[in-house]
Amino acid sequence: MIEISKVSKVFGSGDAAVAALKDVDATIQENEFFTLLGPSGCGKTTLLRLIAGFDHPTGGTIRLAGDDITYLPPNKRPVNTVFQNYALFPHMTVAGNIAFGLEMLGQSKTQIAETVDKMLDLVQMQALRNRYTTEISGGQQQRVALARALAPQPKVLLLDEPLSALDLKLRKEMQIELKRLQSETGITFVFVTHDQEEALTMSDRIAVMRDGHILQVGSPRDIYNHPVDRFVADFIGETNFLTARVAGKKVKLTSGDVIAAGDVSRHGEGAEVTVAVRPEQVRIGEAGAKGGIAATVNQTVYFGTDTHIHLKLGDGSDLVARLQSPPSGESGLSQGAAVSVQFTDGAVQVLES
């Protein structure tokens, strides 16, 4: 659907030049919920603006359904945007905002009225249709922005952190609603967020970005379970990193323990690697259990549903385990207690670099 090839974007020139995107390649499929995820300043908005046509790349091409749209102005692209601050027209009503794109496309009055009506139903804003957009709440504005962008039935909908201004509860509701809208309309969504949880729950595929690069593209499960590097693993959820050396098909931790790990074939025998283990994949057993790694409890932190156990291995490296809190709330692990640690099968990932 959208093919982004070798796209780069430099702002300014000379000493003040900022490379916001560096040779970005990505292909976004039809009907996909595609998310750009990354920390602040990594170039998410820049990439979105290039797809929308507000700005042009300094290099590379962008294709939409096979056509080169790199330099096409925004009003000629079947692409609509939901802006981070919504950018609703303050001199128009809710209905007026939704109708705007349709009017610009030169649709007939009856056709416009019909679509606007349908959109108002879709985002449940029928009751407020004649209000000015300055007279409605943030969550309502968000829905109007969504309806306005959906009304012209674009091929692609771009959303730049549309939920960031909402409180947690409304945000969760809107996440579900957005997902529903996407599957109902069949429109390709390109969604920008720096919230990893949001990305994991909503996306078909996620592109993790950093410093103008796309580090990894994959399904939420892919990215969560097989992060390519330390940055991705760290950015998506919490992770334990341990240093190890390749020993046959297994790895040997600095603590001396040899454990089974994912694919080590990329690395030579004895090479130093970083392995990653999610805290929820760490099992704690009685000290001395067979096949376990000796550890001592450093601290327990109660999080309600979960309890985090901070452990120290023999060589002093840190490891966090996440356990479901028992009904009493007491994990029964006191500071200084000697335990043994095991990892769930397949939980230990060897990072590429």
Binding site: L88, F100, G101, L105
Partner: protein
């Protein structure tokens, strides 16, 4: 308890607004009352007024009596002066808008650091005496002035243009003099305009023209209206610019009023003309209040 407190509040309110009230009475209401009274008196032989109540001044505004046969006819000269004033002021307003919109847009889209400098440049003429500014314009448009020299130089014309002492000269002068009054409020309005609204409309298939007419103009409308009033009101009462650039023949209301208090020795007529001018300005202001409140309620 509470009522005595309220009484005190009310008393304090009056006390606090006393300076403003004094100013209003002596600087606004008083002089206005004097002018209104003079308009119904008889002119003195050499100047001033005689306390004889009459409607003659108002009669003279519209009609004149022939000195030979006493026949009454419309005072065409007076009407044409009013018509010229209104026409030139409206044209000035339109021209300052046409030049002012791109200027204000340009300034508002400069980086924040540069903006103060551009605004300063626009307002420099303000710190200069009006008469000097008007003479400067005269230097430009005079028969052997800069404009003609330049046009002759590049061969666009063969004989110099006669601009001085025409309506065009007055129009050029007033447009130049009042341009900052149009630019500043429009700048303020454009500065508040969120650039993302333009992007949003462009994203929603608006052409550049539609972006201008459907988004930019409606949103900066309050600034346009304020600028138009700020230009129109002083234009219609302008005195110096039409005097210098229009000469004695191309009079505007301001010059005509001055004439009545000076060489014309007809203070009541001058007073009546002043009141009519005030009426025109009031109509413009009422129009302003109407359209600007409507923009609040129905956008």
């Amino acid at each position: 308890m509470s009522t005595s407190l309220e009484k005190q509040r009310a008393r304090d309110g009056w006390l606090l607004s006393a300076p403003a009230l004094v100013l209003l009475v002596f600087a606004a209401a008083g002089p206005l009352l004097i002018v209104a009274t003079y308009a119904f008196l008889t002119p003195g032989d050499y100047s001033g007024v005689v306390w004889d109540f009459t409607l003659k001044a108002w009669f003279q505004v519209l009609f004149e009596r022939d000195i030979f046969d006493d026949s009454i006819s419309m005072a065409d000269a007076h009407l044409s002066i009013f018509w010229r004033s209104i026409r030139l002021s409206l044209l000035t307003t339109i021209l300052t808008f046409l030049f002012g919109l791109p200027t204000a847009w340009f300034i508002a889209t400069r980086p924040a650091k540069q903006r103060a400098a551009w605004l300063f440049l626009i307002t420099i003429p303000f710190w200069t005496n009006l008469l000097i500014r008007t003479f400067a314009i005269m230097e430009v448009i005079r028969y052997d002035g800069l404009l003609n020299k330049a046009l002759l130089g590049i061969g666009l014309i063969e004989t110099p243009l006669r601009i001085m002492y025409t309506d065009t000269a007055v129009l050029i002068g007033m447009t130049y003099v009042y341009l900052p009054l149009m630019v500043l409020p429009m700048f303020a309005a454009i500065d508040r305009l969120d650039i993302r609204l333009i992007e949003a409309s462009y994203d929603l298939y608006a052409t550049r023209l539609k972006v201008l007419t459907k988004i930019i103009l409606p949103i900066v409308r309050p600034g346009i209206i304020a600028g138009s009033i700020l230009v129109f009101v002083p234009s219609i009462g302008a005195y110096v610019t039409p005097r210098v650039l229009g000469g004695g023949k191309k009079m505007m209301v301001g010059n005509f009023i001055e004439l009545q208090f000076g060489a014309g020795r007809n203070w009541p007529l001058g007073a009546a003309l002043s009141l009519i001018l005030l009426l025109i300005v009031s109509v413009a202001l009422i129009f302003y209040v109407r359209v600007s409140t409507r923009s609040d309620s129905d956008g």
